[in-house]
């Protein structure tokens, strides 16, 4: 069924179609409509789930973990300050191997207060071990929730579905909401290998010394690595049933490109149009969208960028004192290649500042005209 819905509701529909059993969430702008719609769905019986209306995001994640440990499929959603408050429990969800799916609306961190988009909130969770997927459209948001449960439950790691504040969260787009029976065919019920069960009592997460802890961390990395394969497989199965799909990355007109742009989130849509405009003018520009950020799609990035003459990465985030975060990740992925392209790093759109086709044309022009790669170029900065 095609329906015109906002990005936040795409998250709610994704959760509903995944037949989530426990939702624990706390309201924060711009995430509120996610939980409002889910509350409604629980209240009117459309969704057979328990909604725990917690008093903070920290408790939202703690309760989601508890529910998952009991054997229930758990979902939560938040943004910015809320995600930062959850941080301790995101580590816990990973260590406890609870495959929770978390919707995060990218919003800039305060102070000063901002409710507009920026990726520093989700990227601050980079090293926790939660998987991260950045979405470009509302359709992709809904579908990614369903795919995330599929992958998360295979590898027993939580997954964050990320979308831009307002540019996606509050923007209405047509979304194909599939039949429940098709989703059921794709996503089997959650059946974890271990759970809290008085008939088979186990202790989870007890004090573990250096004799064991190290191997447990290794197992998380093994799971992350396995997730690279599981994302591909989950997408193939998804395409077979729903006739649409998304890779770990998407390359657009990259085969013959001299210059490849790298984007994530909604800047991708703008960049795709800009690539078309520039192609019409005879410029050989391509686009690499990074969708799955953790696990990092290192092979795909190397394959696609290896033949480019120049690469320009656009980051709606910054690791202060270093560079854009996607830029640093891509650069490190390319470093061990014998033939690696030079890469320029651009910061754009922090705090929700619009990134327009003109901004992207400026990035392309500057990269073309430059002989020496620069790592930290601020686009559209008022001086």
């Amino acid at each position: 069924m095609m329906k015109v819905i906002m990005g936040n509701h795409a998250l709610s529909y994704g959760a509903k179609l995944s037949r989530v059993q426990v939702i624990a969430a706390y309201p924060i702008t711009p995430q509120t409509q996610v939980v409002e719609l889910l509350s409604e769905m629980c209240a009117n019986g459309e969704l057979d789930a328990k909604f725990v209306k917690v008093e903070s995001e920290h408790s939202a994640m703690a309760a989601s973990i508890g529910a998952s440990a009991a054997g229930a499929r758990a979902f939560t959603a938040t943004s910015a300050q809320g995600l930062a408050l959850m941080h301790e429990m995101i580590h816990w969800a990973v260590g406890a191997r609870t495959p929770i799916v978390l919707g995060n609306i990218n919003r800039a961190m305060g102070p000063p207060w901002s409710i507009w988009t920026e990726q520093n909130d989700s990227l601050s969770e980079r090293d926790t071990g939660i998987m991260q997927v950045y979405c470009e459209s509302n359709q992709e948001v809904q579908d990614t929730v369903i795919q995330s449960f599929k992958v998360a439950e295979k590898v027993l790691l939580p997954c964050m579905v990320v979308l831009d504040a307002f540019y996606l969260s509050h923007t209405y787009e047509p979304v194909d909401i599939p039949e429940q029976s098709l989703v059921d065919e794709y996503l089997p019920p959650f059946d974890p290998p271990y759970k809290l069960d008085p008939d088979d009592p186990h202790t989870f997460g007890s004090l573990t010394d250096a004799k064991w802890y190290y191997e447990l961390r290794y197992k998380i990395e093994v799971a992350m690595n396995k997730a690279r394969y599981e994302w591909k497989k989950a997408n193939e199965e998804f395409e077979n049933i729903f006739d649409r799909g998304y890779g770990l990355v998407e390359d657009y007109k990259c085969e013959d490109a001299d210059l490849i742009l790298i984007t994530s989130g909604t800047i991708t849509g703008t960049a795709r149009i800009t690539v078309d405009i520039l192609r019409e003018k005879g410029k050989k520009v391509g686009l690499l969208k990074i969708r799955v950020f953790r696990p990092f799609p290192i092979d795909e990035v190397r394959d696609i960028l290896g033949s480019a003459k120049k690469v320009a990465c656009i980051d709606r985030n910054i690791s202060f004192g270093h560079s854009g975060i996607f830029f640093a990740e891509v650069k490190s992925a390319l470093y061990n290649l014998s033939n690696r392209p030079p890469i320029w790093g651009y910061i754009a759109g922090l705090g929700g500042r619009d990134v327009t086709p003109e901004s992207i044309i400026e990035i392309v022009k500057r990269t073309e005209e430059s002989d020496k790669p620069e790592e930290l170029i601020w686009i559209g900065l008022k001086r």
Binding site: K50, V52, K53, H58, G66, L196, L207
Partner: protein, 292 residues
């Protein structure tokens, strides 16, 4: 005499508690009262360690170790998960120390109690952060030494009234208990199990390590703390009906204080102040019980 304490031992020996640990007895008694169909949510506290290091475990029921401030929120999630899976008979027991309850965990506890999430929340109270080396908490009593309230500046504020705070949430059942009175304690555990929504038990659990007391005085102290009215035993139903569980013996507080090194620095006037405060608080409790 009728045996009121179930014979079955759910908690195993060979745990890691210090000699004379009141908390270990609290786990043992509460699990006797609840039976095996119980899941425990345990945040950082002495009982994290007492259970034993991986791969050992002593408590005999499923244990969910969770972050310091999340005993209640993790328990809420566990209960929601069990409910939706149709396993409604299982008791969810949130089990936290005084730091995890009075201080860092009070927000999550208040949230769960306000929602009325079905769980028994036990605070076993040893009156300081004992696991980390005896630092003061808001459960540390007036006048006590801890490593962060040295004898030159002992704690100068009274213990937080956690039971009144929980009763003010209008939860179905709130009670105090002492490991010195196991029959009363287990009776209250069973009553909590039969009550609906969130139930709160505040159990005083002497700590020889932190109280600087003799391990073989633990039971004596757990009785004296009640007899002196420092920790009276009572119940509160629906936040309204307050009932004393034991009549006062009115034993002077000095009999309790003098057995503990943490109070050794107190001067006579300090002891008098404590006695006055205890008398005043006890009067207040009696009034609550009468008016109910």
């Amino acid at each position: 005499m009728r045996l009121t304490i179930p014979e079955e031992e759910i908690m195993s020996p060979g745990h890691l508690a210090c000699q004379g640990c009141g908390a270990a007895l609290a786990v043992r008694f509460v699990l006797k009262g609840l039976g095996r169909n119980t899941i425990m949510s345990i945040p950082a506290c002495c009982c994290t360690v007492i259970d034993g290091p991986f791969p050992y475990t002593a408590y005999g029921v499923p244990i969910w170790h969770t972050a310091f401030e999340t005993a209640a929120s993790a328990a809420s999630g566990i209960k929601a998960g069990l409910d939706v899976l149709g396993r409604k008979e299982t008791t969810v027991l949130a089990w936290a120390g005084d730091g995890g309850t009075f201080d860092i965990g009070i927000q999550a506890l208040s949230g769960a109690a306000e929602r009325g999430d079905d769980m028994i929340y036990v605070c076993y109270d040893n009156e300081a952060y004992m696991n980390t080396g005896i630092q003061r908490s808001s459960a540390t009593p007036y006048g006590a030494w801890t490593t962060t309230t040295p004898v030159k500046h002992p704690k100068n504020r009274p213990k937080k009234d956690i039971v009144a705070i929980m009763a003010a949430h209008r939860i179905s059942y709130t009670a105090t208990a002492s490991i010195g009175y196991p029959e009363d304690l287990i009776k209250k555990v069973k009553k909590a199990k039969e009550s609906e929504g969130t139930k709160f038990l505040h159990i005083i659990a002497p700590c020889p390590t932190g109280w600087r007391s003799r391990p073989d005085d633990t039971i004596k102290l757990a009785k004296l703390v009640v007899e002196t009215n420092i920790f009276p035993l009572f119940e509160v139903e629906n936040g309204e009906i307050w009932k004393l569980s034991k009549k006062s013996k009115g034993t002077p507080v000095i009999d309790y204080l003098k057995l503990q090194g943490r109070f050794r620095h107190l001067k006579e006037e300090d002891v008098q102040t404590i006695q006055m405060n205890v008398d005043k608080e006890y009067e207040r409790l009696l009034k609550r019980c009468e008016s109910a």
